[in-house]
């Protein structure tokens, strides 16, 4: 089929999924609670206030029209060009604020956290998985497997709290609720402080942003590594028994080449697919991690808004999460097709 046509087909197929996702969010956030505006006032509000809120948010219109406005807002290019973010409605808490703007400014922090956590989780998980598979049945294998099981059972926020205790209280490294301290953040190019500071040659900013990122991404990364560990190990064990691995050894290739170039290269693909699926789980953990470390990302935004009963904001955050997951899964699929020539057929 060729890589290009696969990518195009895949992108086209994403549209119905997205639509389904957006509809689902609408159903949960607008339809399920009955009257979100009334809920905002905890059903004790002055009816006049409730009605005014409904008018501002466009909730006095019939449901189908709200739905059209909702979808329409997301694809409103004019709005996007004007504001730099899509139309996700207005905040219930402060109706002068656009949810889209808030969501977009909170998002890069989550993205950065997610990226580094994924890197830590996958590198840790894969390396341990390979080591475990190579020493099958012996002590290192058992130890590593237990590590994987236990880390999965630890609630990510608990680990975060323990880390804060150890590094924060006893070493004075508490989270400050900022992505960077002591220094001004680098000018925005990608929105990721680490990348931006390198791109500008700003070493101090880089160091400071890494310092802030360290504990949260380590926490999230460790808890998620277990899944990669288990999958890598299982796939490696199966792959190492396949004939082309023995055939490679029969040609006199070095054991490290065989382990990584032959076994892992082939065992890795399902792991990559899993990475895409796991990303969804990662985002859930990210919400908790951000709350624990007061990391100013989309997760913390969402949790804060819950306390404010700001349902439009919560809806906006959920939509953003959904878009993010869809995009990532698309990227992973394309990457898999690139790495494994057989998928494209």
């Amino acid at each position: 089929m060729g890589l290009r046509s696969y990518v195009i087909t895949r992108i086209i197929l994403t549209i119905p999924t997205l639509l389904l996702l957006l509809t689902a969010v609408f159903l949960v956030m607008r339809v399920l609670p009955g009257d979100p505006a009334a809920l905002h006032f905890e059903k004790k509000g002055d009816p006049a206030d409730v009605e005014r809120l409904r008018q501002i948010l466009g909730m006095d219109k019939p449901l189908w029209q709200q739905y059209i406005n909702y979808i329409g807002g997301l694809v409103d290019i004019g709005y996007l060009r004007q504001h730099g973010y899509p139309n996700l409605g207005k905040s219930m808490y402060q109706t002068s604020e656009e949810v889209g703007g808030q969501v977009f400014s909170a998002f890069p922090a989550t993205l950065e956290l997610a990226i580094y956590a994924t890197i830590i989780a996958s590198v840790l998980g894969i390396m341990l998985g390979v080591a475990s598979s190579k020493s099958y049945g012996k002590t290192p294998d058992h130890l590593i497997r237990n590590f994987g099981t236990i880390t999965y059972a630890i609630p990510v926020f608990f680990l975060g709290l323990i880390f804060q205790l150890i590094f924060g209280v006893y070493l004075g490294w508490l989270p400050t609720g900022q992505r960077i301290s002591n220094v001004a953040p680098p000018t925005t190019i990608t929105g990721l402080y680490t990348i931006d500071s390198i791109l500008q040659g700003n070493i101090i900013a880089f160091v400071e942003s890494v310092r802030a990122l360290l504990l949260p991404s380590l926490t999230l990364g460790i808890v998620l590594s277990g899944v990669f560990l288990r999958l890598t190990r299982a796939n490696m064990l199966e792959t190492l028994r396949l004939e082309f691995v023995t055939a490679a050894r029969a040609r006199g290739l070095q054991e490290s080449t065989v382990t990584y170039g032959y076994a892992l290269r082939n065992a890795f693909l399902p792991v990559l697919t899993m990475m895409g699926l796991q990303f969804a789980m990662l985002l859930g953990g990210a919400v908790l991690t951000e709350t624990t470390f007061s990391w100013p990302g989309l997760g913390k935004y969402m949790v804060d808004r819950i306390n404010f009963r700001d349902y439009t904001a919560i809806q906006g955050a959920v939509v953003m999460f959904g878009l993010f997951v869809t995009l990532v899964s698309l990227t992973v699929d394309v990457l898999c097709a690139y790495l494994d020539p057989r998928i494209r057929l």
Binding site: R241, F244, R251, G252, L253
Partner: protein, 323 residues
């Protein structure tokens, strides 16, 4: 000095359920340029024997006893790094199923280049590619396909690639484990012809492993028949044709269908292969042998019956050595 000399080799698999003696008391030698056939059913130990020559018997397999000398060096005791250099370079192995012997995510040409550069670290990539193209041409694979992936080739072509990999470094010994089993009959003949012509050209020693006795009889100078992990008969080709002694060999020869006969009753050997976890006491073929006697409860040893012909059976008339 013979190219390959194996003496009293025992190979066991140590599993959770018990010990399996996959290869028991095997001894033979092979000179350069000779073609040796290893015939036997599945489970007879022939593949394990082949793998032990390159010391790649899969875990939990262990070479328990005996020696394997390649050009005089006993490789059983050799340190792993030296052994690794022998693999591919001095001794090459062709695996049974071409569909699964090549790295699916590696281009075919890259297989060759990688192997060459492993054995000759200073080799330039350009030179390696040139050599690869030449080998592919010899194998009648279009050299434009050097950057194709294994799954883009047919089974027969893949096996030719495997053979190409085996001879690429000019080994002295090539072991072909069921090289044609996964292929259809017409391709089978081509592959075997290819192996024969390579042997003629390069003069290497060739060990051909197969459960198909007719192939072995057709192509090999010397033949070893294996059953239940032991060598039951060893003879030069003509001698085996003329004078098969072991009842198993006789039964095998009889069961080969003759295409020229219009009516033929296909004979099979009654019974089934021995359970290697709990092998029969004495001669392993005893339970299925039409000539089995009281004696056969003892293990027969390999007896020289002349003409470079050895048999492990009491039917030769020699009395048993007490096991």
């Amino acid at each position: 000095m013979p190219l390959l000399k194996i003496d009293s080799l025992d190979v066991e698999y140590r599993t959770n359920r018990g010990r399996i003696r996959a290869v028991e008391d095997v001894s033979f030698s092979l000179e350069k340029g000779e073609v040796l056939g290893l015939a036997g059913e599945s489970g007879s130990g022939k593949s394990t024997l082949g793998l032990s020559i390159i010391r790649l018997v899969p875990s939990p397999g262990v070479i328990v006893r005996g020696s394997i000398e390649i050009d005089g060096t006993d490789i059983v005791k050799l340190p792993e790094d030296k052994m690794r250099l022998l693999r591919g370079g001095k001794v090459a192995y062709i695996f049974q199923d071409p569909m699964t012997s090549l790295n699916p995510v590696k281009k075919v040409g890259a297989h060759f280049v990688e192997m060459m550069q492993t054995h000759e670290p200073d080799l330039e990539k350009k030179v390696a590619i040139e050599r690869t193209e030449k080998i592919l041409k010899d194998l009648r694979i279009p050299s434009e396909r050097i950057d194709d992936y294994p799954h883009q080739f047919s089974g027969g072509m893949r096996q030719r690639i495997m053979i190409g990999l085996a001879i690429a470094l000019n080994p002295d010994l090539v072991i072909a484990d069921e090289p044609t089993t996964a292929l259809d009959v017409i391709v089978q003949a081509k592959i075997l012809d290819l192996l024969a012509s390579l042997r003629d050209r390069y003069g290497m020693g060739l060990i051909l492993i197969s459960h198909d006795l007719s192939i072995i009889l057709e192509r090999c100078d010397k033949i070893i028949v294996m059953y239940g992990g032991s060598m039951v008969e060893y003879a030069p080709n003509a001698e085996l044709h003329k004078n098969p002694i072991h009842p198993y060999t006789q039964a095998l020869l009889q069961s080969i269908p003759n295409i020229e006969l219009s009516e033929q009753k296909l004979s099979a050997i009654p019974g089934s292969p021995p359970n290697m976890l709990n092998p029969p006491k004495g001669c392993s073929f005893g339970p299925r042998c039409p000539y089995a006697k009281e004696q056969c409860r003892m293990k027969p040893s390999l007896i020289d019956v002349g003409n470079d012909h050895f048999v492990r059976c009491f039917a030769t008339g020699e009395s048993a050595e007490v096991e």
